[in-house]
């Protein structure tokens, strides 16, 4: 009788598909990571910051989508236990009401490993997105970093696996490390800007250190030349609140273009504030006669508009106290906490700074206004510079 019952049950199960799941589904299930969202909620107390791909273009989320998308994301230095939102896919469809336990090991310069989390499939082969906490911290200095995660499953429907099932690897995930929350005009920084800023400021943990690097790289790396003809700006209409044409700037650099101090000063603020330096842009009018300076892309001069002058003022170096030489009518630069960061020039700081050779080359960075003007502005002929004032501007 018992034998008969077993036979009947066996026939029913096999004929009508009523076999128990454990016997009918292939083992093991095939699990893959479907998506990872790094900036999955507003704000950044748990997750990544909001960044943009460029002008008028948001960063698609989730940032990582299997086979089709791998976008960058950004964190602030030393943040810990960042959260990500992960979605899995499971095959065959018979597992669509299952749960799995997953974890991830990290390789590279990551934001941490992920402890075991239980993920649910609720009537779908796509799991309900699961917010997972990374065990680790973001680097302590500005940088661009990459890592990958190796994902494993150590239980299916609560049944632990002796050997974890290998899900696969995701990455390389590349992220920017900023110093602080980014500020205007880059409060939602563009990736094209962060590519420069994070590289330039790599390893810097202070705003002043990062700003110095930003200044040095703008001056050295972008192949820009000071307009020694008439000091016209290229990327902005004026020295105060004029829009900075960032999209055009990014299209053109590095490339041989002529700029003035408004361009350099506004670029300093844009690239520094993208990583949270808190820099300002300052404009000073009137300015005065220069000691020997080395404008961006040019040689030494104490007569900065020599290209538009006739003999004898068509020479970069003229008589050190000559009142007929050209001078800056106004000047602009980046600043941080009252100290100046000028990407437009280097200055001669030897004992005879208004003439040369010889020249003793110094960056004009981290100087107070009184130090800056004593080093950059010649004492004879006398000048009466105004006081630098901060101006905000937008980018397009």
């Amino acid at each position: 009788m018992r034998k008969l019952a077993i036979i009947i049950l066996g026939w029913l199960f096999s004929s009508y598909g009523l076999l128990p799941v454990a016997y009918s589904l292939p083992w093991p299930p095939t699990i893959s990571v479907y998506s990872i969202g790094f900036n999955y909620e507003s704000g950044y107390s748990n997750d990544a910051l909001a960044i943009k791909k460029g002008r008028g273009s948001t960063m698609p989320t989730p940032e990582w989508l299997t086979g089709s998308r791998n976008e960058r994301f950004a964190y602030i230095k030393s943040q810990t236990n960042r959260k990500v939102r992960v979605q899995f896919y499971i095959e065959p469809s018979g597992y669509s009401n299952s749960n799995i336990s997953v974890y991830a090991e990290v390789s590279g310069e990551g934001i941490g490993y992920i402890n075991t989390n239980t993920v649910y499939f609720q009537g779908s082969q796509y799991s309900t997105p699961k917010v997972m906490t990374c065990q680790g911290s973001v680097a302590g200095s500005a940088d661009i970093r990459s890592f990958s995660w190796s994902w494993y499953c150590n239980a299916v429907n609560g049944n632990p696996q002796e050997e974890p099932l290998v899900i696969g690897t995701t990455g390389d995930h590349t992220y920017y490390v900023l110093l602080a929350s980014p500020q205007a005009p880059m409060s939602e920084p563009w990736t094209d800007v962060l590519d420069y800023s994070c590289d330039w400021a790599s390893g810097q943990s202070s705003s002043s250190g990062a700003l110095t690097k930003v200044v040095q790289h703008i001056y050295n790396d972008l192949d820009l030349y000071y307009d020694t003809y008439d000091g016209s700006p290229r990327y902005t209409s004026n020295g105060v609140t004029g829009v900075f044409h960032l999209n055009q700037f990014l299209n053109e650099v590095p490339g041989s273009y002529m700029v003035n101090c408004y361009d350099c000063g506004k670029a300093v603020k844009v690239f520094a504030n993208a990583i949270g330096c808190g820099a300002s842009y300052q404009y000073c009018s009137p300015f005065g006669y220069e000691n020997c300076i080395k404008p961006i892309g040019c040689g030494w001069t104490n007569n900065p508009f020599y290209d538009s002058q006739s003999y004898p003022y068509n020479q970069p170096i003229v008589g050190e106290d000559d009142p007929y030489r050209t001078r800056f009518g106004n000047h602009a630069f980046g600043a941080l906490s009252g100290n100046i960061y000028d990407a437009c020039l280097k200055v001669d700081t030897d004992s005879n700074p208004d003439y040369g050779p010889p020249f003793s080359e110094s960056w004009a960075t981290g100087w107070s206004w009184s130090t800056y003007k004593s080093k950059v502005i010649d004492n004879n002929p006398p000048s009466s510079p105004g006081n630098p004032a901060s101006y905000d501007f937008n980018v397009d």
């Binding site: 507003s42 909001a50 943009k52 791909k53 002008r55 008028g56 273009s57 948001t58 960063m59 698609p60 989320t61 030349y225 307009d227 003809y229 008439d230 000091g231 016209s232 700006p233 209409s237 004026n238 020295g239 004029g242 829009v243 044409h245 999209n247 055009q248 299209n251 053109e252 490339g255 041989s256 273009y257 002529m258 003035n260 101090c261 408004y262 009137p286 300015f287 005065g288 006669y289 900065p304 508009f305 290209d307 538009s308 009142p323 007929y324 050209t326 001078r327 800056f328 009518g329 106004n330 000047h331 602009a332 002929p381 006398p382 000048s383 009466s384 397009d396």
Partner: protein, 294 residues
């Protein structure tokens, strides 16, 4: 004795006169601040008498499509030919900016920037502001008019800058290219002179036949297809500039534009603007408002 006194006084007077004049050339902190306004600048530049303020408008030119004889030994660099839409600013309406960069060898380069407005008086205003906003001292910024003009209806500094109808041309040379300014200015002016003129910009502008969104009530954190149909009266190459008050614009793998409402606050109204530019320097824009679902 009286004669000697007079002579001495005369010497003292002339010395003090010389000193006063010498000081005027340097920056004297005791002097009253001079009038350095845009109005004063216009007066010094004789702006009111610049010719052509009410003239016809002219079609622009895509310099990348033509050979410039004076630059035949230089080449346009890979990033060197672009069109930009420059939004209205400081009382100057929006413009189209076309820039081309030639390089012969490293350090010997020349950039030509064409600014194309929809009327001549607008481009005149733009040009005077370009001269006005510079790092030079006020008195040195006043443009030096060429007489006769090297190119255009009016040119400055040996052809370095000139205006032809509604088009302002700037030539920025470096290195060996400094010797070519006049020749380049004439070549570019010849190209411009070959373009048609009109009394209004309308016939030069591209057309936007359709600009709509698939659903004007959009869910937050979704993408929604945009329908954009454009054409150009002369079949010119078209460039697109997008402005959004929040969210973003993207293009999918099928070449279709979409609006991305990621992180846009629910319950808000947002505006999407498209600016379509043709490579003859004219643009047309269109905007739509969308609501983000609560």
């Amino acid at each position: 004795m009286k004669k000697q006194m007079l002579l001495l006084l005369g010497i003292i007077f002339s010395l003090s006169f010389l000193e006063t004049n010498a000081c005027k050339t340097a920056l004297d902190p005791l002097e009253d601040p001079p009038d350095e306004s845009l109005e004063k600048f216009k007066e010094l530049a004789d702006f009111a008498n610049w010719p052509g303020k009410n003239g016809l408008i002219r079609e622009g030119v895509n310099l990348n499509k033509y050979s410039i004889p004076s630059l035949s030994d230089a080449s346009i660099t890979s990033k060197g030919s672009q069109f930009y839409y420059q939004e209205a600013e400081d009382g100057v309406p929006a413009l189209v900016h076309h820039t081309v960069h030639w390089e012969k060898i490293k350090g010997d380069f020349l950039v030509v920037d064409l600014y194309i407005a929809e009327s001549c008086d607008v481009i005149h205003e733009y040009a005077i502001q370009r001269f006005f906003y510079s790092s030079m001292p006020f008195e040195l910024r006043v443009p030096k008019k060429d007489d006769p003009p090297i190119a255009g209806e009016i040119s400055f500094s040996g052809g370095r800058r000139f205006i032809r109808n509604n088009i302002f041309v700037e030539i920025s040379p470096h290195g060996e290219m400094l010797n070519r300014i006049a020749a380049v200015a004439k070549d570019i002016d010849n190209l411009l002179l070959a373009r048609p003129t009109a009394s209004s910009a309308e016939e030069f502008k591209p057309m936007i036949q359709r600009f709509e969104i698939a659903n004007s009530l959009v869910e937050s954190n979704t993408t929604t297809k945009l329908f954009l149909e454009v054409s150009d009266p002369k079949g010119s190459e078209l460039y697109y500039f997008w402005q959004v008050t929040a969210g973003g614009i993207g293009k999918n793998e099928y070449g279709e534009w979409y609006y991305d409402s990621s992180w846009v606050d629910p319950g808000t109204t947002q505006t999407i603007t498209v600016v379509v530019i043709n490579d003859r320097g004219y643009y047309r824009s269109s905007s739509i408002d969308i609501k983000i679902k609560q």
